[in-house]
């Protein structure tokens, strides 16, 4: 290490800082600098690939952890108290004793932190030491290194199934097309493969990839956490720029699939990689209850100060009343008594120390414990477990469980949330002719019947049509013979296939429409290649097959995960050979193994049966022995489509059903097999990917025969209709678009999702295309404003389209959706649906799921102009007002629903209309927002949440719901078909919409009431106990004397009475689950202010005051004027306080289980054991108090028991009064029990009102 001046070091550090902060980074290859010292490395400023997620180091754990913990206000309060205790003028206890609570709490937290940090350390070490290949100039080859050795500017080789160590700019792959597939499941949970393309022409790749030939500079943006976005370019030595987007970036944490190996240039390493930047740890939301709680803690602080002031003032008056210094008044060490005012000033602080537990610090720790346990119970609920996907509910936000019990508004996405998002091709309209696909409809209709399970249908496979259809009829028959007996297994097979996204039999299976099929076969027989005028029917299906981003994978080139699926026999035999490893294997591949749980005999019949079953649902993989499918034979059966959206897959499968089989797709070409058996290879010139602004996607291809540039576009109907040029086939198709539009409307009314398919033959020349292509490339390479430029180029091309037809895709409602919505509504929750679909589709689904009802008054608001929108809103509001003013409608409410579309919504949410809109929707039973963008979704949620001050919940499954999910108080992600982005952003992830019912009605209610009651109880407990000490101050000259031994006092809170309330918060059930599900109205107790309101808090505080008064003054009156000594007076007080506090809890507990009994009796036993042992052992310890043998002698005294019993009864008498009132109320209200208002009464009242129910 050469010596460098500190100045140089500082300069270097500054330069590094600047380099990192720069908007653009220029990166060079490290290879020319290999072996040089660090100061000479060009990329030395950027972070290395070693990661460190640990918070602490071994050496500094204690100081750092303490520092961390003292950021909490509560802990600071504790420390303040301890410091006070060390000041001799004010200390109340021995200073050491005051340290106990804080030490216990700090060390508990520290232990938890240390354990978590150790886990992180272990996983960091494992990751950092993973092997990878880095190119070394010295050795002229890739050498094996650890992940942590990877630096920005290195060349890293990744091989198939390996995890990518850093963010790599893809330069070379083993694939001749420069394509590499990655699986991003580790990042976003999406299981479909994503295709990445190498940046071409920046270094020699032929015949062998030579990293040393890379001479360019990679310019890229500052690291950010957007997984779907990357901007950068490679500047070659000749100043030519080659653009590179996310499609050339291999992300750290992804797995390479389907590609033998690939080489990339490290752009971001370590903590700057996109996956690490996305890894922001658990989310922290503050629940409503906690916000409320903080107010009450603040009240407690005020109470504490008041009590201390009273103490100080009392002390002052008491001192002033002394004529002379009495013998008991001890001067401080100095020998001189303080003046009364100074003494009372000190007394104020001493009082704070004495009465400190009034601020329930342990409450925060307890709440955390309770919430963790509540989450344990929620995740363990078997009713929230989805068998099909083998997934439980996931709780991502750990501290808002109780908010689940307070929801007033639910905002739900439609697709994938209310519906299955299993897209089924239902109908299509081509060139103005409608093909209803009746057979397909029948197949689906049978599915809807509850008994019919999916697989039955697939076993009763429709007999193949005579011509050209792909399914082998022999197979179908074979399956018919044994199919039905093995229903269960085939269902399992179906499940297993869902490893690949969107490939359940339901979706892959399309029964072609007879008429259409004939038409197709006719056209295809009149050979396509000769007709210049391509038939529109062929075009339609070609568009379906081509215009998408579906990745085709072969059965044999499946990724490893799936390959087990494909060779079940092999797997089985391997399993049988190696029974020892069975469990491990099962762990990894849980879903596969259902097959093996059948009678073992069957397993050893490797023939027909299993195979036959597997063929159901056109599962191609196991149909043919692996040897056959080794060649990417053109047998369409061993194709597997992996689509990013289910619609695409449905369309591709539909095209396949008509014989247009998508065989392969590379970035540059698509091959499609035609019904005639011919294979067409289209050269793909460009893909204009889907975005939510354009609402369409296009593929520009060069027709292999006509050599024309053809643009196929598919998209939302309104997006396409706008772009239609003059009809190409004007003569034949007069008014085709209007007919199609009519069909589209009809589809929408049926609740189908509609898509329009259009095409455009670019009749301009090569040169025009070239020019466009250059623009496009420039746009792609642009760093600034790229989205707009890319979109502009796309819009340039997508004009004058020719409508080919439209498709209707059905998305079936999930099971129990109407039932769930009904229950949620009865629970007083308003359900809104926000969808991107057309209003007609949305309304239809609205009826189907019971959101809209026939007798409802439905207002549909569509307004193009602001002024119209204003008028409509005003009129509707007026109508509502008139309805409510009408005396005839006193008891009824207007059942009004609102349907509003995206454009109108924009206007309604504008500042001047916002209030009217909010006023209107307050009266609506349900609101449907159609054609809304993700941003609008979140805006709606925010507006309602802020304007109406209500608790909101948003549920969605797709990336377009992420905004909304994050805007709501509770975000629910539904882990469905559309990847995991919604789940990642959510607080709770469920797999079915119906789970919402139990989650809210049961768990929400429980979590809320449990926590609310526990918190109230905590306040009560602390106030009641502290007040005992406070009352005593009136009899000891306000000198902050405690008549209870300090240790016992501290233990009282820390051990004797801490577990029961926690258990109460975890396990109490005020109402049974069945009851809550059966009577959703019960949910209303939690809404709005809920159980935990202002009055409840103060009632419990008053209760605490009363009980402490009784608890103190009964012994006082009994022992007045007697020879009782201080601790003989205080210890029984402590004992009866324990009983009172625990019995008070027992009254609150609504159901007693074994755990309750154990903990309650355990606490009492613990108290007696500890106190008795302590007073038997402690002779001279703990100087100011004399605990020795006090409890023992008290327990020999009958008066002790008589006083305790009396205290108990008198303390709890108000509670029994409540019982009596309830008891009376029961009689009066049994007749009216159906009235929900009854439940809204007093907290305790309402609870016991339920008793006859529960």
């Amino acid at each position: 290490m050469t010596w460098r001046s500190p100045l140089a070091l500082v300069r270097d550090a500054l330069r590094g800082q600047r380099a990192r902060e720069n908007e653009l980074r220029s990166l060079e290859s490290n290879l020319p600098y290999e072996g040089l010292e660090k100061g000479k490395q060009p990329n030395r400023y950027f972070t290395s690939n070693a990661i460190k997620t640990t918070k602490y180091s071994l050496l500094f754990f204690i100081p750092m952890n303490l520092y961390e913990q003292f950021h909490r206000l509560a802990n600071l309060y504790f420390v303040g108290l301890v410091i006070l205790n060390f000041i001799p003028q004010v200390n109340a206890f021995q200073p050491e004793i005051a340290l106990i609570p804080i030490c216990v709490i700090l060390s508990l937290t520290a232990m938890k932190d240390a354990w978590e940090d150790f886990r992180r350390y272990q996983s960091d070490r494992k990751l950092n030491n993973m092997p990878c290949f880095i190119y070394s100039r010295k050795e002229k080859q890739f050498v094996e290194r650890c992940w942590k050795d990877v630096r920005v500017g290195d060349f890293v080789k990744v091989v198939c199934n390996e995890i990518i160590p850093a963010d790599l700019l893809l330069l070379y792959t083993s694939d001749p097309n420069g394509v590499c597939h990655i699986e991003t499941a580790n990042l976003d949970g999406e299981t479909n493969l994503k295709q990445r393309t190498a940046v071409s022409g920046v270094c020699n790749t032929h015949p062998k990839f030579e990293p040393e030939s890379f001479k360019g500079i990679v310019v890229c943006e500052k690291p950010n956490n957007n997984l779907n976005h990357f901007k950068g370019y490679v500047e070659k030595p000749d100043k030519q720029k080659v653009g590179a987007g996310i499609e050339s970036l291999l992300l750290r944490g992804c797995t390479v699939r389907n590609t033998d190996h690939a080489v990339g240039f490290v752009v971001y390493a370590g903590h700057e990689t996109k996956s690490m930047l996305n890894n922001s740890g658990p989310r922290y939301k503050r629940s409503k209850l906690e916000r409320r709680l903080n107010i009450d803690v603040f009240f407690c602080v005020i109470l504490l100060f008041t009590m201390c002031l009273i103490g100080a003032l009392g002390h002052y008056l008491w001192l002033n009343a002394m004529p002379v210094v009495p013998p008991y008044l001890v001067p401080p060490t100095s020998g001189q008594l303080d003046s009364p005012s100074l003494a009372s000033f000190y007394m104020f602080f001493t009082m704070i120390i004495l009465l400190q537990i009034l601020i329930p610090i342990s409450l925060y720790v307890s709440i955390e414990l309770v919430k963790i346990s509540q989450i344990f119970f929620i995740t363990n609920d078997i009713d929230l477990y989805d068998e099909e996907t083998d997934s439980r509910i996931q709780c991502k936000a750990l501290n808002i469980t109780e908010d689940l019990g307070q929801i007033e508004y639910i905002f739900s996405d439609k697709t994938g949330t209310l519906t299955e998002n299993k897209m089924v091709f239902r109908r299509c309209s081509i060139m103005g002719t409608e093909y209803p696909h009746k057979e397909n409809a029948i197949r689906l209709a049978v599915l809807d019947e509850p008994e019919a399970e999916e697989e039955v249908l697939f076993n009763q496979h429709p007999q193949p049509l005579p011509t050209g259809w792909s399914l082998d009829s022999e197979e179908a028959n074979a399956e018919d013979t044994h199919g039905h007996g093995s229903r269960r297994r085939s269902k399992v097979t179906g499940n297993a296939q869902s490893d690949v996204a969107f490939s359940s039999p339901l979706e892959t299976e399309v029964v072609p429409d007879g008429k259409l099929f004939q038409k197709i076969s006719r056209t295809s027989s009149s050979s396509l290649s000769h007709s210049q005028k391509t038939d529109a029917y062929l075009d339609f299906f070609l568009a379906l097959a081509i215009c998408n981003t579906v990745v085709v994978s072969m059965a044999t080139s499946q990724r490893r995960r799936v390959s087990h699926t494909n060779t079940p026999l092999e797997t089985l035999s391997r399993l049988m050979r190696n029974a020892g490893s069975i469990f491990k294997f099962c762990k990894r591949k849980p879903k596969r193994n259902r097959t093996f749980t059948e009678d073992s005999e069957e397993h050893f019949q490797p023939s027909g049966q299993t195979e036959g079953v597997r063929t159901t649902g056109l599962q191609p993989c196991s149909l043919h022995p692996p040897s056959l499918s080794d060649k990417p034979a053109l047998t369409s059966d061993n194709l597997r489509y992996e689509a990013e959206s289910p619609d695409e897959a449905a369309l591709v499968y539909a095209a396949k059903a008509y014989g247009f089989t998508l065989l392969s797709r590379t970035p540059d070409s698509v091959s499609v097999k035609l019904p005639s058996g011919e294979v067409l290879d289209f050269e793909v010139l460009d893909t204009l990917t889907f975005d939510s602004n354009r609402k369409r996607m296009s593929v520009l291809v060069r027709h292999p025969i006509t050599k024309e540039y053809v643009l196929y576009t598919k998209g939302a109907d309104f997006a396409i209709m706008e772009l239609l040029g003059t009809p190409y086939y004007a003569s034949i198709l007069t008014g085709q678009s209007t007919v199609t539009q009519r069909h589209l409307d009809c589809y929408a009314k049926e609740g189908l999702r509609t898509l329009c398919i259009a095409k455009k033959v670019q009749n301009h020349t090569e040169a025009v295309y070239k020019r466009w292509s250059v623009d496009r490339k420039k746009a792609m390479a642009a760093i600034e404003d790229r989205e707009r430029l890319v979109m502009d180029t796309a819009v340039q091309l997508e004009t004058n389209l020719t409508l080919l037809g439209a498709t209707g895709i059905e998305d079936r409602l999930q099971e129990n959706v109407p039932d769930t919505i009904q229950a949620l509504r009865e629970a007083g929750i308003k359900v809104w649906v926000l969808t991107g679909d057309k209003p007609e589709t949305a309304v239809n689904i609205g009826y189907a799921c019971g959101l809209l009802e026939d007798e409802d008054l439905i207002h549909t608001i569509t307004a193009v102009f602001q002024i119209t929108c204003t008028n409509i809103l005003d009129c509707t509001l007026e109508e509502v007002r008139r309805y409510n003013a009408d005396p005839r409608n006193v008891d009824t409410t207007l059942n009004m629903s609102l349907v509003i579309d995206g454009l109108t919504l924009d206007k309604a949410l504008s500042p001047d209309l916002l209030d009217r809109f909010v006023a209107l929707v307050k009266h609506c039973r349900s609101v449907l927002c159609c054609r809304v963008t993700p941003l609008q979704k979140s805006r709606v949620v925010k507006v309602i949440r802020e304007k109406l001050k209500v608790m909101t919940l948003a549920a969605g499954d797709g990336a377009n719901d992420v905004n909304m999910i994050q805007a709501a108080d509770i975000g629910i992600g539904i882990s469905g078909q559309e990847g995991m982005q919604a789940v990642m952003a959510s607080d709770f992830a469920i797999s079915r919409f119906k789970h919402l019912k139990k989650l809210l009605l049961v768990h929400g209610h429980w979590c809320y009431t449990r926590l609310a009651n526990m918190i109230i109880y905590f306040f009560y407990k602390n106030v009641a106990y502290v007040n005992l000490l406070f009352w005593y101050q009136f009899f000891c000259g306000f000198s902050a004397t405690a008549m209870i031994d300090y240790w016992l006092m501290i233990f009282f809170n820390l051990f004797f009475t801490s577990l029961p309330p926690i258990m109460f918060g975890i396990m109490d059930k005020d109402i049974s689950a069945e009851m809550l599900l059966g009577v959703p109205e019960l949910y209303k107790t939690g809404q709005g202010e809920g159980d935990y309101r202002f009055t409840t808090f103060w009632v419990s505080i008053l209760d605490a005051f009363y009980q402490s008064l009784v608890c103190f003054f009964v012994p006082y009156l009994v022992y007045q004027d007697s020879d009782i000594d201080m601790f003989t007076f205080g210890t029984p007080l402590n004992t009866s306080a324990l009983f009172i506090i625990l019995l008070h809890l027992s009254i609150e507990i609504k159901s007693w289980t074994v755990v309750h009994w154990i903990i309650m009796l355990g606490s009492v036993a613990l108290y007696f054991i500890v106190t008795l042992a302590y007073s038997a052992v402690c002779v001279t310890c703990n100087p100011p108090s004399n605990p020795y043998w006090i409890l023992q002698s008290q327990m020999e005294d009958p008066m002790f028991y008589l006083i305790s019993v009396f205290q108990l009864c008198l303390c709890l008498f108000p509670n029994t009064r409540l019982f009596v009132l309830d008891f009376l109320a029961q009689w009066f209200s049994t007749a009216n029990l159906n009235h929900p208002e009854v439940f809204k009464g007093n907290r305790q009242c309402s609870h016991s009102l339920m008793l006859p129910f529960s």
């Binding site: 210094v325 477990y385 749980t597 000198s1039 008549m1043």
Partner: protein, 340 residues
């Protein structure tokens, strides 16, 4: 079995605990429980109340204030003067037998033995007989740990220093003959204090242990000479000292002074007659507006006389009964349908 488990690895355990279906007992309050419950509790309370009241009534208490603030009171001269061992006497007459065993207390009012600093002002280790604390008392005793010339005070601290130092003798006058009533000062302190908590250092004679120490400032005699009549009643285990050291819980308190020795004429207590208490008046109470008294009382199983608890029990018990009657009326009137 392994296969069974793994077919759905994420499936939650279907146990009563995780599914929150543990068998639970729910206290249901029906009329059939509440009304008899109230009646039973009420009756039990009334019973206890009556027993307590009867017992309390049977306890005889005789209180005599001797502070001497009024002009007519016998000790007024002593209360004004500051003379040491000022003598005064108090006369009282018993018409009937004062049932034994009779306890003789002295009482102080407005005396805050529970004042925090006062309570801390002692050294438990010193009182446990640990000689090392004789020479250097704990700082908690401050400023009563060393006298002006830095000699350690034993027993140190404010409690010891302020020990009550009035003494009493009781005489009975029967037909002109004055008879001293035997008082028993043994075992008036807690057994545990006498035997465990407080110990004299094992030095004989006891006096030697106190070498180099001084007596508390306000004491007339050093600790080892507290009781000249009984050598074993000296030092830290002196009964009066022990009684004083056990701090009273409330500002108005009494402390046991002696028992009437149940022997001879006093076998059954104090017989009727004229009695005189001769008081050595030392303890100043006017400085804190306090009062002093002597109390004779006999005790029962419930301790001293106290009517509060008995009355309280009676009140609550009758309330319970009344309430159950009200509920019964309502019940009968509205014919509450059968509970589920």
């Amino acid at each position: 079995m392994v296969k069974q488990e793994s077919e759905s690895a994420n499936r939650p355990d279907n146990t009563a605990f995780t599914q929150q279906r543990l068998p639970a007992w729910q206290p249901i309050l029906s009329a059939g429980i509440v009304i008899p419950g109230f009646v039973l509790i009420g009756l039990a309370f009334i019973g206890i109340g009556v027993a307590l009241l009867v017992t309390s009534r049977s306890i005889q208490v005789l209180e005599l204030d001797y502070t001497g603030d009024g002009n007519g009171s016998p000790c007024s001269s002593c209360s004004q003067s500051t003379t040491v061992n000022c003598k005064c006497s108090l006369n009282f007459t018993l018409d009937t037998l004062f049932q034994g065993p009779v306890f003789f207390y002295y009482g102080l009012s407005n005396y805050f033995q529970n004042y925090r600093r006062y309570g801390a002002s002692k050294d438990d280790n010193q009182l446990y007989g640990d000689l090392s604390y004789f020479t250097s008392p704990s700082s908690s005793c401050s400023p009563y740990d060393y006298d002006g010339s830095k000699n350690p005070i034993v027993p140190c601290g404010s409690i010891a220093n302020s020990m009550f130092n009035d003494t009493f003798t009781l005489t009975r006058t029967v037909s002109g003959k004055t008879d001293s009533v035997p008082l028993d000062g043994k075992g008036i302190a807690w057994w545990t204090d006498y035997n465990v908590k407080y110990r004299n250092p094992s030095v004989t004679p006891l006096k030697n242990a106190f070498n180099g120490t001084v007596k508390p400032i306000d004491w007339a005699k050093p600790a080892y000479e507290l009781d000249t009549s009984d050598a074993s009643n000296n030092g830290f285990v002196n009964q009066d000292f022990l009684v004083w050291m056990r701090r009273a819980a409330l500002p108005n308190f009494r402390k046991l002074y002696r028992r009437i020795d149940a022997s001879g004429d006093y076998q059954n207590g104090l017989p009727a007659g004229n009695y005189t208490i001769d008081i050595t008046y030392n303890y100043p109470v006017r400085v804190f507006n306090g009062a002093k008294k002597v109390v004779f009382s006999n005790v029962s199983w419930m301790g001293g006389k106290n009517e509060f608890l008995g009355i309280a029990y009676l009140v609550i018990g009758s309330l319970c009964v009344v309430m159950s009657v009200v509920m019964l009326i309502v019940y009968a009137k509205f014919k509450f349908p059968d509970e589920e």
